[in-house]
């Protein structure tokens, strides 16, 4: 099963995402912010990245830029978790190299539907 790197500074969101994805059979690596995620990304094989945008230390946008610069992540789907009010963030994320986004609030079913769509 594919491995998903899930990045969010909110513990409850992390729990929810991890629980949902694991329940669907994915392998999940979780990270608390961009710095953590980047360190984990360098040592693991990841099929998809799911990242929050607003995070301390390193935010989602910078994380996406950093990831895209890694050879292993050149074509990896990277989805941002963003809120509807953050229209600007979507554009910013896109130009940083994001594949797409999932709009918060979302429920587990929506999350799985989108991820399955991307992973085919």
């Amino acid at each position: 099963m594919p491995t998903i790197l899930a990045v969010d500074d909110s513990a409850s969101m992390r729990q929810m995402v991890t629980f949902t994805l694991k329940g669907a059979g994915f392998t999940v690596i979780d990270a608390v912010d961009g710095v953590d995620a980047l360190a984990k990304a360098k040592t693991a094989k990841v099929d998809l990245v799911l990242t929050d945008v607003n995070m301390p230390r390193m935010d989602g946008i910078s994380l996406i830029k950093e990831l895209r610069a890694l050879p292993n992540f050149k074509f990896t789907p990277i989805l941002m978790l963003t809120t509807e009010s953050g229209t600007g963030k979507k554009t910013e994320g896109k130009s940083a190299g994001a594949t797409g986004w999932i709009v918060k609030p979302f429920n587990p079913d929506q999350l799985l539907a989108t991820i399955k769509k991307v992973l085919g």
Binding site: M13, P56, I78, T83, G100, W101, D109, Q110, V118, G120
Partner: protein, 702 residues
Amino acid sequence: MSIDISQFLDTFYEESFEGLDTMETELLGLNPGEADAESINTIFRAAHSIKGGSGTFGLMNVADFTHVLETLLDEMRDGRREVIQPAVDLMLASVDVLREMLTALRNSEDVDTVRVAEVHDQLEALLKGGSADAEDEVVEDSGEADNAIGSSTAGWSIGFKPLSHLFKTGNDPVRIIKELSELGAIKASADLSAMPEFDLLDPEECCLAWQVELSGEVTEEQVKDVFSWVDEDCELVIEAISSAAAEEPEPPLSEPEAAPTPAPVAEADPTPPAESKPAEPKPVEAVAKKTVSAAAKKPQAAESGSIRVGIDKVDALINMVGELVITQSMLNQLGEDFTMDRVQRLQEGLSELERHTRELQENVMQIRMLPISFSFNRFPRLVHDLCSKLNKKIELKMSGENTELDKTVMEKIGDPMVHLVRNSLDHGIESPEDRLAKGKPETGILHLNAYHQGGNIVIEINDDGAGLNTDRILQKAIEKGIVGENESLSDEKIHELIFAPGFSTAEVVSDVSGRGVGMDVVKRNIRDLGGVVEVKSKKDAGSTFTIRLPLTLAILDGQLVRLGDETYIVPLVSIIESLQIKAENVNSIAGGAELYKLREEYLPIIRLHEVFEITPVNTELVNGLLVVVEGDGQQAGIFVDDLLGQQQVVIKSLETNYKKVEGLSGATILGDGTVALILDVAGLVTLSRERVKALKNQAAVA
């Protein structure tokens, strides 16, 4: 699949409360006019997380409220709105409202909707009235509505030409076409004209384009949705096809602009499942609604009272348990064929067991220890609010924030500390004018300090205000009959009077320092925690309140004493000394009370067997021992039969297992399995004082 997301609520509440604390701290640190971008960002992030989480977990009222707050913060963050004091105050009020909402929700109580609406309206008003252009509120996907062809067409002709970098966004054109096929029947053809010759082909670049005919009842919205992730990474032409034209596919869109060598154009179908049934349109977003309402049901239990523990503390515990297991198996082995010549080994093993148990105990205690900053953190807000209310200028200094103490003690010391701080702000520190008149700096200083001393934590609340007014205190005490008319008291004794029950000097009852729910309550609360509070004060130089507390309520260092057949435990901290009683130092006073002359002081003697009505070995003072204790600022001698050992005891509550007993603070189980009662020294001292008073009165009457 449906997942019950209410299981994550506890975590959500916990992190939200932390987030609110962070917001509060940062808001208080903001300097209106020159707000620090990083602070605003931190505040925004916290609000943002709460909004995201509350939306996800179905707490829509919290999400709605936070949304307005977030919008405001977003404008400040982008520099579109100035950070002004009224806005900061309103945001602080919003933090309070959110805290109340979340607390109510967690405890399954009703949210105070009136208050929520009030602050919500104020936020809205600020948003509308303010500088910023309210562009955020524009609903994303309106606009297209007036596109008349939106609804019923026979289908769509879609020209999709990804830009060469598309792959580098992680998107896959095939996936997109596949998604289109889920909307309706498609006919797709690839345009290979931009394909370079094979040896020039860069596999990382996308050089294909597609022309897709989508038929079925599909709205333009749905089509655009499919391309929403890539609309800036491709050239996209979406045209409606009328029923008549539907059969005639249009030629591929844009001609290759600068294609090196035009490849032969061939009809190709890159999407295997091209022929999918023209079923009901299935927009991705449609899955939404269901589980949100499921999550809206009430959270289960109220506050479960969890604490966060550093991984290192847990690791230390695991390590310790490992050691314990090794010792246990060693002892097991020893027990299997034990002979007397192995007694030495047994003793070694047992002492190792003891050491590990003690270490384990200490480490377990460590888990409950939290830095006092958790408690200190509420004060910047308090000081900020009171300063504006009282028109004073006060700087809050804090030190020793990392001093750790037990979580329960911390929770219970909060209110007394607030009371003392309020008092210092209200009565201690003078108004700027008065201070200037006294030649002091305009801004007063309130200093909170904490440190460990012995087995205690000491918390100091120091202000550089007016100090206690000894004359007025004495006068008041005489008025209230606490002190006799002609008694002469040292300044220290007079200062102590403020802790006497029913004593309150505030001439004007203000809503700041309360209505005479005075220092006696503070003192009693602290005493209930096994602690003491003292005050030192100097006129015009300020006052210092010192609170001394045991680090934990769960374990106590005790002195075991014997009285008849019973063993009692005296908390070691309250013992000053123990001595053999000399008959010549015992003085009987009216009513049968006894005093013991120790150096130049007279101590009341408490005959424990009389208080507890048990039979001692002897009733002759000279045959027993006197344990001199201090409780509640008063010294007394407790008469016991004998002193036994000292040991740490685990405190078991009497109240939860039986009921509260005057003079006792709890019980414990000794090594031999018997129950020993723990003396409440302060309570005993009060008890004996009352007894002496009663006896005196009896004597007077008789």
